[in-house]
Symmetry: C2
Subunit: 746 residues, 2 copies
């Protein structure tokens, strides 16, 4: 392997002082001269900042000891050259900061030597040898990672800019930065001129270097895309997303306009929002510092700061993001891009003291003006608890493409998704939900089929099961018609549609409701799902009422999968188990589910109890004797063991025109393996019944073991909050105001 | 349901003072009068004791508010009457303590009223209506639980003894305590006169009440069993254990002699030792207090205190007991019986300050003289860390029936089992092992098939899969011959045999070795397994070398199951996966394993890498082209979903006479879902080879990717530590002293 290696010796010998004569006008990008001055003055005085600085210093010092390694590019993610270049850009950025804050030339020298090594290597490089990407980079297998490099390297360059001679700067800009910026933009317009997180990185990379070197043309390209370029519409990227759609604007502003809703929801979901936030916010800081007249943080009604809150609110009790769409489980607000996001939202937002709570949990700050403000706030004891509440976020640039809601109470969290497709990382999962207790998944969203950056598993990239399984409808807790996915699993159709918000109301924490409609997933079929979090007397914890109304112009088979995690305790109907396990189907994800057992249902309620994380749960569902139940297991047709062997329960209705799936989900008990005591191990629901269903009204009655009788009434046609309603049920006259109510009939 | 309910009102009204005139000679059993005096004097001054007392007070006060409930017995474990009686005896014991420590008559009254309710109910009771037990109780479905009741109730009675009038005492003793003690002994001799944890409870129950009421005959019965009783030998209990074996002694002493080894290992394993410790230690305390002349804590060379250490050392880094034999995972030294054990071992042992470390983690103490001593030790800052070390524990009353070893270094723990059968709770798992990192299972022992006290699952009792799966050899990480279990899975044979210790050496923490032999599990076949924990240069963590030598007089098929937890990353041989999953066999546990895939091996090393708990592991094994590999999944033939769907890898050798299974297990890397960085994701082993195998010597050579070459040499025939050895390998003359050595040949 050919690589350039400079030793520590060299770094110590070449001590220069060529910056004494010039006026200082850098750093200006992320660190500012005022910020540097103030941080230096506060060193030793702000615990979280000092700790962060010490950690970075230790890391960079160790790297300087090891010397510089700039290998010829060769590998995919997870491979040696990939990880080395990735480490390099992070090290450069950190060394640049250390140079500024500690005023120690060794760090500037390190950055300079590394940049020189890149300036020597870069002009010799062809496009990267790995061919999988639709937009191959030079240092990395995709332009995306090359852009990452430039975003970080620009910051490092800004930090040592004044340390370098004019000639040294000219050399780097001519042989490295300018051709680098041109390659990821002009030479890859299908990568650069796009509405996608990849392009955001590209735009920002070009914009960052433009601001450092003060190049207006480059900045223009970053903000508004490449002008006068013609691209073929209709082609797709590796994830199946359209590369170019007709008539779309491009550049940073366009990427800010389109994927963010007015509530700050990023249409790809929190996992990718976390990834995208870094370029958005780092560039916003740079613009704010260098071009304050653009007022970037006020753009689109403060959407950037709102997006940070959206992201925090889309995490569970432990701070892990809900893994909707292509989200890898375990990604959380402890990720470094969220450290930056929280510090930025604090400093450029309203100095919200609740953000200090998250910052303290993160245990680290960014080393710039924003991080300084957070460190001071923490030092001054201004922190207030960040209590996550029930909330909804609209999707779509205008907020008119459905959305996502989280209902919360005590330690329970219900995530209900009725968004648009979510670009190429979206799943075919209209009106799906997931359910958490104590930060643990109870009814899961499967997430993606990928081991990010683990080279042994498909080079760390998306696995083919991501398309054949993870994106398919049956992999989610939502309705499947005729064993086919929403929109036929076709991105062309899915990306043109979105669900419709019906209502969201969390005013009364004891009766929180969210409701949404999907009419396009299966043409001719309307689904209207309403999820209610009810805290009634006699229940220790809230219960979840889930009602999915289905209306169709033809008879269909309907499957309602339920991805409980844990182990079956009881099922109140006799069931068969299979001696031999076979896949349930051939396509749309069914080929990945083994049938482990089945049952014929009756007109009684179906009751399924299971245990997970030492908690007992029960699902009580309306059933008819025409229904059946399938006990399934993920993992069929999985030749490389890429899937988890997770269980699923599928409630099936055959040959139905209009129908309703209704159930109550209870978290009712606990088990301790230490005391071996099982507390409240059984359901408190005696009977669930549909007592009304006509003219756009429906009502579900819940009778409990301890004798409570409640009716939840809902109007699916009139959602005016001041409308009076009135229906007669079993001889009782029920009256209420607004679209829903919980009425006790004891 | 008929039950007696006394209300709080009653308790408040009937304030009595009928104890003023009598001499105080109680409490004397567990609490002593001196202890009470000293605890009272220290109230408010010993944080851990005050906290414990406050918690108990809160619990008992709440119970007093609710009133007394003594229902007619009806249910199995987990059911209402069972759990109520269980709660009652615990409440009485606690209320008794509160009466003594707080000198508040309300608590004595509560105990008295409850005992009166029992004295009213008990004489009316037939044997318990549930018929499953070989020894049905009256309050509970088995005499075992009745005995639990009496052990606790005796303590409560002792605490309020002086509070009661002579007449009141006579009433309770005549109608409740004496008939109760007779029922679980004389009327159930097959329960009482046995060597088993059940009988220990029975003996202790009778002994405790004997000491309170000062009844020498009862005490004699407790200590030495029922005299002159003839029982049928050969009958079995519900777990398949023999009830009575010929010529066995009985009673407390016999139960102390037989199942404890001289090292304090209890032959059923730590899960049952934890359960058994409470009666042993509570009665030992009582004997020490009432009959100090018996010097019970010095009995059998301090075996009782040793047994507490044995138990602590058989827990993982988190304090969870290794789940060998019928052990339920998650049981730990946080269990209340261990709180008692640790306090007793501290107070009646050598005031070992390391035990204070465990006590502090437990966060609670027992409210008696022992707990007082611990609370004082903690208050005085005498605590020292309890660092668990590598160790071996011999099994068998004389320590000559094999044993169990744990090799430890850094965060790794290897458990190697070569014990006797372990009575009726033993598994057919000679020479099996399990492996832990950071307190997490990596290569698991399956544990039991039972949901203890979870009534929905088989009444909370052993499930039939415990016999058909959990006990079988193939459910363990050890050798299976011809798809049959050790001893043919027959308890009659297994219980007469044990493995043989060969050597254990942990003197050098960088080269720890344990080795044992099994010659009876498969007649005509000798297995000799040696496990080595090696910490060599260049490795961040120790590796495990595992060599199983097999010699047989006939050709057999050999399966070596490997119960890794987690997900497959890579396998270095091409493998097939099954479209349809079928059970691997009909019996001996094979009926519970699905075959998911298989591979034909080659003469190269087999390398299997997987990820678990965000760590990367690799198993590198010697292989030949005659070998095959099966990728299996637990869960076949499981009509009630009682089994976990855990994976297994089975290395198969067919038609072999003498053979060797040799492998190296590495923990080599980590993954973070937050940074998405994979560090050291691949194995550091380049090649593993057997370079010598004759005349009782064998040698395994390990070549690493970074160029180290080591040979581990072993003498399977001469284990003298001063013996010089010398063999020639590939032209190299290797010399060493003692039975083993690791020799670098770079």
């Amino acid at each position: 392997m050919k690589y350039v290696k400079y030793l520590v010796v060299l770094l110590v010998v070449v001590a220069t002082s060529n910056n004494v004569l010039r006026a200082q006008d850098h750093p200006k990008l992320i660190l500012t001269q005022e910020g540097v001055k103030e941080i230096r003055a506060n060193l030793g005085n702000l615990p979280i900042l000092d700790k962060t600085l010490a950690a970075i210093k230790e890391e960079v010092d160790a790297a300087i000891q090891k010397g510089i390694d700039v290998p010829v590019p060769k590998d995919y993610s997870g491979g040696y050259t990939h990880e080395t270049h990735k480490r390099n850009y992070r090290l450069m950025q950190k060394a640049g900061i250390l140079y500024q804050l500690l005023n120690d030339y060794r760090y500037a020298l390190y950055v300079h030597e590394m940049l020189k090594a890149y300036a020597e290597l870069y002009p010799t490089l062809p496009v990267h040898p790995k061919e999988r990407s639709y937009a191959r980079g030079k240092l990395f297998w995709q332009c995306l990672n090359d852009s990452n490099w430039l975003v970080y390297a620009s910051q490092a360059y800004d930090c040592i800019y004044d340390y370098l001679s004019k000639k040294e700067r000219k050399h780097l800009e001519k042989n490295l930065f300018k051709p680098f910026a041109d390659f990821i933009s002009i030479q890859n317009p299908h990568f650069f001129n796009r509405i996608h997180n990849h392009s955001t990185w590209g735009n920002v990379a070009v914009g960052m270097i433009a601001l450092v070197v003060d190049d207006e043309d480059l900045l223009e390209r970053a903000l508004y895309g490449i002008k006068d370029v013609e691209l073929n519409t209709g082609t797709k990227d590796n994830d199946g997303g359209f590369i170019i759609e007709e008539g779309k604007a491009a550049g940073f502003y366009a990427n800010l306009d389109e994927p963010f809703s007015p509530d700050g929801y990023y249409t790809e979901g929190p996992y990718y929002q976390r990834y995208a936030m870094y370029p958005f916010l780092i560039f916003a800081q740079a613009l704010q510092n260098v071009k304050p007249e653009l007022k970037i943080f006020e753009y689109n009604d403060d959407v950037l700061v709102k997006s940070v809150y959206a992201l925090l609110d889309l995490s569970d009790q432990d701070g892990d993001f809900f893994p909707i769409n292509d989200g890898q489980k375990g990604m959380s607000y402890y990720n470094t891009s969220l450290v930056n996001a929280v510090d930025v939202a604090y400093y450029y937002g309203n100095k919200d003291p609740r953000l200090l709570d998250i910052a303290q949990k993160q245990g680290t700050v960014v080393l710039n003006d924003a991080g300084l403000a957070v460190a001071k706030g923490l030092k001054n004891g201004e922190k207030q608890p960040y209590v996550k509440k029930s909330m909804q976020l609209r999707d779509g640039a205008n907020g008119e493409q459905g959305g996502i809601s989280v209902l919360r109470k005590d330690k329970l969290e219900l995530v209900f998704k009725y968004t648009a497709q979510g670009l190429s990382h979206g799943h075919y999962d209209k009106l799906s939900y997931s359910f958490y207790e104590d930060g643990d998944e109870v009814v899961q969203d499967y997430g993606l089929a990928r081991f990010v950056n683990i080279e042994q598993k498909g080079g760390g990239n998306y696995l083919k099961e991501n398309k054949t399984w993870a994106k398919q409808t049956v992999a989610h807790n939502t309705l499947v018609q005729d064993q086919s996915s929403h929109f036929g699993g076709k991105y062309e159709i899915g990306s043109k549609n979105h669900s419709e918000y019906y209502l969201f109301n969390s005013e009364d924490p004891k009766l929180q409701v969210v409701s949404a409609i999907e009419e396009n997933a299966y043409p001719g079929t309307k689904m209207h799902r309403t999820m209610v979090m009810i805290q009634d007397k006699g229940w220790q914890k809230p219960i979840i009422l889930d009602v999915m109304q289905v209306e169709s112009d033809k008879a269909h088979q309907y499957d309602m999968p339920f991805y409980y995690l844990g182990q079956l305790m009881t099922l109140n109907v006799p069931y068969n188990t299979e001696e031999v396990l076979r896949p349930m189907g051939k396509d749309f994800g069914y080929q990945h589910i083994y049938k482990e057992g089945d049952a014929k249902l009756t007109n009684e309620n179906l009751k399924f109890s299971w245990m997970a994380n030492n908690h007992f749960y029960t699902l009580t569902s309306l059933a008819t004797e025409k229904d059946s139940l399938i006990l399934g297991r993920v993992g069929a047709t999985d030749p490389e063991f890429n899937l988890r062997r997770d269980p699923v329960l599928i409630h099936r209705k055959s040959e139905e025109l209009n129908t309703v799936f209704a159930s109550v989900l209870e978290s009712h008990g606990t088990y301790s393996p230490v005391t071996e005591l099982a507390v409240n191990a059984t359901s408190n629901i005696k009977n669930l019944s549909k007592v009304y269903d006509k003219d756009g009204y429906w009502a579900i009655r819940i009778d409990t073991v301890d004798g409570r009788k409640n009716v939840f009434v809902f109007s699916a046609v009139n959602k005016a909050t001041d409308q009076n309603h009135n229906i007669s049920i079993e001889g009782l006259e029920l009256k209420w105001k607004g679209p829903f109510a919980l009425i006790n009939i004891n």
